[in-house]
Symmetry: C3
Subunit: 314 residues, 3 copies
Amino acid sequence: MKNFTSFADAGDYKTLLQQALEIKANPFGYQHIGRNKTVGLIFFNPSLRTRLSSVKAAYNLGAQAWVLNAGADSWTLEMADGAVMNGGTQEHIKEAIAVMSQYCDVLGVRTFPTLKDREADYSEEVFNKILKYATVPVVSLESATLHPLQSFADLITVAETKEKERVKVVLTWAPHVRALPQCVPNSFCDWFSEVDWVDFVITHPEGCELDPKFTKGARIEYDQKKALEGADFVQAKNWSSYQDYGQVISNDPSWMLTPEHIAGTNDAKFLHCLPVRRNVEVSDAILDSPNSLVIQEAGNRVFSMQTVLHELLK
Amino acid sequence: MKNFTSFADAGDYKTLLQQALEIKANPFGYQHIGRNKTVGLIFFNPSLRTRLSSVKAAYNLGAQAWVLNAGADSWTLEMADGAVMNGGTQEHIKEAIAVMSQYCDVLGVRTFPTLKDREADYSEEVFNKILKYATVPVVSLESATLHPLQSFADLITVAETKEKERVKVVLTWAPHVRALPQCVPNSFCDWFSEVDWVDFVITHPEGCELDPKFTKGARIEYDQKKALEGADFVQAKNWSSYQDYGQVISNDPSWMLTPEHIAGTNDAKFLHCLPVRRNVEVSDAILDSPNSLVIQEAGNRVFSMQTVLHELLK
Amino acid sequence: MKNFTSFADAGDYKTLLQQALEIKANPFGYQHIGRNKTVGLIFFNPSLRTRLSSVKAAYNLGAQAWVLNAGADSWTLEMADGAVMNGGTQEHIKEAIAVMSQYCDVLGVRTFPTLKDREADYSEEVFNKILKYATVPVVSLESATLHPLQSFADLITVAETKEKERVKVVLTWAPHVRALPQCVPNSFCDWFSEVDWVDFVITHPEGCELDPKFTKGARIEYDQKKALEGADFVQAKNWSSYQDYGQVISNDPSWMLTPEHIAGTNDAKFLHCLPVRRNVEVSDAILDSPNSLVIQEAGNRVFSMQTVLHELLK
């Protein structure tokens, strides 16, 4: 593993998943790997789970960590090549990333999409600059289009919870009050469409289609009820439109997941990457039911990160 | 000890005090307790002493630490049960606390009172939610009504400084320009009214009475001069009104502690939790005198926290 | 070494430089020095390099670190002696620094000049208060007039890169869009005018003269081209006026360093403390050339700090 930015970087996902389960069973057993290593974490946007689970993952591995709130703690970054920097930006990302690479052994970076310029977002313009200028391995803590540590944690959660060989996993769109990135659903598709013991189904209102690059031909079922039939795991998530880029196409409250929606499933376990808007995306009854895995799922963020750090530092 | 939120949680205060003095004498001698442990610290409000002394306490104990500025670093939290989260709040405290519990072994949390809704504040509505949703031990870094780590540090300071068996300790109200919480004086009363080698007296202008739940029948003397007579230790602190909740009842500058006020004491040592408004609450002459213990007192915040962490992690 | 605030504090610079090169060659070889030690870092202003390189230096040395954004994380500080604190400031620097000294073994502090009150800035009013109230060794992370960790890193960079015994080093003023402090050029002069294997030349537009206290009689050449002739190393940096204090005297774009400017040098290596305004201070062609040492120079910030911490903690 050179960097970790998508499913493709994971290499053989079965090996990586096995490694994650071993690390979870013995979280402090790999500290020779992290000794004298420092994990740098840069956030261009707020974070709770990613920030803290990444720090904990570094600590478990016997490594140190630092966190930088880009912007608030340091300087405003210029992204454009060839810019004449006589305006508001104070430092070019070229220097910033190359410099920070010297203060750590792995660099985790969170960027967010513009949700305005689809081409810029989907070409991962910013993240690719980071990859270009970094001189240490880079971990995506969420980029403009993907959130691979989340999807890997989801995979760990499903794998350690499932009670039969093959399982049906459904990704369902959910309503929200704001226009959200497509990173989490894109990434969920990027991973789960490849898992050979998963029957993967995506359901959302028409017009909410994700980039086919990530859905990879997975079954899309516009009838939510039909999609959820017999499901073993349901991941709910809102996203804004990929077609009509960044727009909120639907607010349809009937898509909010409630016990009624779950009725036709195989007593499905419930997933959500968090933060979740209670009683907007998902009802309290679902989130507070024993079938909800959301806390365990967030807990597995430590082990997805720790496994990735282990691979990159070993 | 299960959590640490008040004097009652301290168990036998004599044993805890003894432990604190031993830890202070040998701060790095207990690192087997902190090994592979992480202390999570969440601040809903600014902090200097609590933030840094807690981090140092974790380090002394051989543990790691992370600090989260709730709000600035992460998401806006919803506190209400059953809320339909279609407004400004982005994550429910139920998830936030349960998730963060998985990224640490002890969770320290600072909340502040509203100073508007006495019932909400004095029922510790927010802090009790945190206790309810946490799955690891919780340490109050100051709640709506109490600041037990401060009072424990005060007790350590008095215990290690006193030169005779019994001492007279006076808590005196002091003027301020803003409406402040009652946490520190409540907590000081909560602790010092229980110490069997302390004669405890409270003095303040009429109308500044604290909640009797915390003063526990301690002597209240409205004449500051009389109260200070023969005092061995004086703790000065402003607080807003408990009766006329959150209001500034008095600005009376004659309550500002000066050498004149101290004249009738037994060469009293001076305490203040800091930050202190110089020449408003207390004069320079008091703060800069050799009898001032305020720096030592702040230093003992490391050892009150380290002792509590030691109890919770051992 | 008692504190580290200027070249004078460095003691014998040759010994310190030698130590830095040894530490760089074996960065984890001195962890007995940092064991159970904590480095406190206080920033009154944004920082990227200083913040992160200082944390990394502490980690390399086996020490722990904490970072405080003064103001944002904690309380507004009062600087004036004898102040009646009934306004916006919440804590006096006297308490703040004495308290923080108890939570660490070395205190790093960054302050910035006012650029309005030259006497206050050049008497290091704020930094001297910090030195006065601190009870542990203090490291300047940049003060009102100096940035010694940067200059020491520059010296390491030149020393490890130079290919002959004596080298010509030129500090050249560069244009900028804002009024910047004089710290970096002052400090560069403070150090390089003392190095016995350096021929040191300063070049800038007339009116941009630095404080002679720091230039110490070094050669000043107003003709940039002439100054650069035969140079082995060129450090570019903008600064505002010392004479007409804090004012921008020149924006002359002809001072921007380009390959043309470098033509007469001895294939000079290029230095800049960063952040740099690309194509305003220096052209892309210079920054992106193989002769640019700016990234290596920033990397050496780890080792200048680590060497200083080693001296102060040993």
